[in-house]
Symmetry: C2
DNA sequence: CGGTTAATCAACCCATAAGTTGAATATGCT
DNA sequence: AGCATATTCAACTTATGGGTTGATTAACCG
């Protein structure tokens, strides 16, 4: 799977996005990350593997802990991709502008 | 599934992103959209359904054709989400700035 | 050394995604 | 009416995702 698909796919899960949001506040261990969720530690561990494969987190080794850190680099690619479409969701304003210009000329 | 997950999920497929790119150039029918891909028309029809459910396209009815149009509105949400992380992939620069400030004070 | 804690591995379940082929629906053309 | 075109529906296969439980590995603590 290409990288962008992998990243989008990793982001397509609320639990994983919540994990990223948590990591935005700083490093955390698997247990710390798992704590807020009503799912098993193993399930969280899988989510972390997905995020890691997508390049969105990196993991250290500190005794028996595996501290996770956010790596937002792949999000840059997402931002670039989505920016290509910006003009389309801003079009509304363009259309409004066009409309206003038009009725202005008509009156 | 929440909207953002649905959108990310829809974007996590190269075929669907290619379809969106094609629609950025203007309306197209299912056959026209399917033409470049080595998969069946039905498969493309399914992809379109996914995009439609995510709110990324709308479909018209014109005789036996179902012209598809891009609706980039949901991408705004994606852009907003990803912007929350911008500082992290730009952090490199911040760190450089901090470093420069620091050595400046030291000397 | 033995027990506790942190995390992963492994096997399994169930639902869904992505593709296929074949049939059905609906519109236009002559 | 009858045929061609555009698209969808339906049934099926195969693979994958997200979850579970139970066992395993590895490090620390007393």
């Amino acid at each position: 799977m290409d990288r962008l698909s992998e990243v989008f796919s990793a982001l397509a899960d609320p639990t994983r996005r919540a994990i990223l949001a948590r990591l935005a506040e700083g490093e955390a261990t698997v247990n710390e990350l798992a704590e807020p969720f009503p799912i098993s530690l193993q399930a969280v561990s899988k989510h972390l593997k997905v995020l890691e494969r997508a390049g969105l987190i990196t993991r250290g080794i500190h005794a028996q802990w595996r501290p996770c850190r956010l790596d937002a680099a792949p999000l840059r690619g997402v931002a670039e991709w989505v920016t290509e479409y910006r003009r389309f969701w801003e079009e509304r304003y363009d259309e409004l502008g066009t409309y206003l210009t038009k009725i202005q000329k008509e009156n």
